[in-house]
């Protein structure tokens, strides 16, 4: 039996599908989060070099991965929306941006908290930190461009173009920052030594990565639902939902 995937590219049918999916992903996210934090704080051994402070890795690394991954996903959906003129893809891209920006901020924040005990300073102009900061700027640029445009169709398309330009530039920015860093900085602080991890540490980190995934999916679906309601408030099916009292 062929599944008609295009059915769910209509905001109305996606709205109810997302409503069914959200509780599922929320529950998995909570379970994984609890398991990941338990493994991270109680099971994983203390690092012989970094002591207890290394445990911030269980938040920091998943946040950093998600921040980069979500930008690519956002640009992908924005590009789909631009190419095929599908409204839902563009709404989905706008829903991803705040979560991506939040993970970028968390990665920078926890990185700074981690840097203080390890390197004795809150901030170093290391290649990774700097490119993560620039990624935050790209997210903020995307969101403020969309916020400044009143017409939602124009906001979608303009946001899609800047997201795609950003995604083309990310590797260029990353490598130029890396080169700049190696030219300027002595080897006083090195983040590039990756000591081999204990299996439980790795397991805890991977569980946390999956927890972040599930959390992102749940929150993005929820936000997409709200954007759909906002944009489609003039339609009959939203009015029907209001009558039934499922939407206040």
């Amino acid at each position: 039996m062929a599944i008609n995937w295009f059915k769910y590219s209509s905001p109305a049918s996606f709205y109810s599908l997302a409503g069914k999916m959200i509780p599922f992903f929320t529950v998995i996210a909570i379970i994984l989060l609890a398991a990941g934090l338990y493994v991270g704080f109680f099971v994983a051994p203390t690092d012989f070099q970094q002591g207890e402070a290394y445990r911030i890795i269980f938040i920091h690394v998943p946040a950093a991965w998600m921040s980069m991954f979500l930008y690519v996903v956002m640009a992908f959906w924005a590009g789909i929306g631009l190419a095929f003129n599908t409204r839902l893809s563009a709404m989905f891209a706008s829903a991803i941006a705040p979560t991506g920006a939040m993970f970028t901020f968390i990665a920078l924040w926890t990185g700074s908290l981690w840097g203080k005990p390890m390197w004795g300073t809150w901030w170093v102009w290391d290649a990774r930190l700097t490119s993560e900061l620039i990624l935050l700027f790209l997210y903020i640029g995307f969101m403020s461009l969309q916020a400044a445009i009143d017409d939602p169709r124009r906001a979608d398309k303009a946001g899609a173009i800047i997201a795609l330009v950003g995604v083309v530039n990310i590797p260029i920015i990353y490598f130029s920052v890396q080169w700049w860093n190696t030219l300027h900085q002595g080897a006083s602080v090195s983040v590039n030594q990756a000591p081999s991890m204990a299996t439980t540490m790795l397991a805890g980190m991977l569980i946390m990565v999956f927890a972040s995934w599930m959390y992102s999916i749940a929150v993005i679906l929820k936000r997409t639902r709200i954007i759909i309601l906002e944009r489609e408030s003039h339609t009959a099916w939203v009015a029907g939902l209001q009558k039934k009292g499922t939407v206040s």
């Binding site: 403020s144 124009r154 303009a158 330009v165 130029s176």
Partner: protein
């Protein structure tokens, strides 16, 4: 078409010379503010000079981006240009090149004088000028995308800086890096080659992206 649009924009710029001079003097003032803020210590200033001149060039080029499309947008010329059968990318390329001739070239010509104020040695001055000559067209081309996207928006001037400045970072790194490398006595060819590569890539892709942005903005 390309020549025509460049000639037209240059003519408009000549008729309103104050716009060109404002950008140039902004550049000069920003560069002159730094010794006042960090002190007249010559050794410090010499090491900071490439970065300061490049950041000032970035800001000056960005501030003048608003003029690239907005006047034509207000009087309706841009809409007519969009309706014409000519390629829109070519038109954007012409406008970006005109923007570079009007704002970039004066900065390039002024940079050695400002470099002397910072006591840069002769060959570093030459590299600074060459890096600006190669880099400022990239600023105009990338800026065209930002200018097209923010056309007619409230607070467009501040918004364009949020969009465009992160994309300028690689040019800044290699532009200032080339001068620093030549001062440190290391090879600077790689930096200049990379700026040249950015120039070629943005010559191909930026007009296209800016043209689609214009279509979005004028829908």
């Amino acid at each position: 078409m390309l020549i025509w649009i460049i000639k037209r924009d240059l003519l408009l710029a000549v008729r309103r010379q104050s716009d060109v001079l404002t950008t140039l003097f902004f550049f000069i003032i920003v560069v002159s503010l730094f010794p006042l803020s960090v002190g007249p210590e010559m050794n410090l200033l010499r090491t900071m000079a490439p970065g300061i001149v490049w950041v000032a060039a970035l800001l000056a080029s960005m501030l003048s981006l608003g003029r690239m499309f907005s006047n034509d947008y207000i009087d309706g010329t841009l809409e007519q240009m969009l309706l014409s059968p000519q390629s829109l990318s070519l038109l954007v390329l012409g406008k970006a090149l005109a923007h570079w001739l009007v704002t970039g070239i004066p900065l390039v010509l002024m940079a050695p004088v400002l470099g002397i104020q910072y006591d840069l040695p002769g060959d570093a001055l030459a590299i600074l000028t060459i890096s600006l000559l190669l880099g400022t067209p990239v600023l105009s081309l990338i800026g065209a995308i930002g200018a097209a996207l923010t056309l007619g928006l409230r607070g467009g001037g501040v918004l364009v800086s949020l969009l465009v400045l992160p994309l300028y970072i690689p040019i800044l790194i290699f532009g200032a890096g080339a001068v620093e490398a030549s001062m440190a006595g290391v090879g600077f060819d790689a930096h200049l080659s990379l700026i040249g590569a950015f120039l070629l890539v943005s010559l191909v892709f930026a007009p296209w992206a800016a043209a689609s942005s214009l279509k979005v903005s004028l829908e």
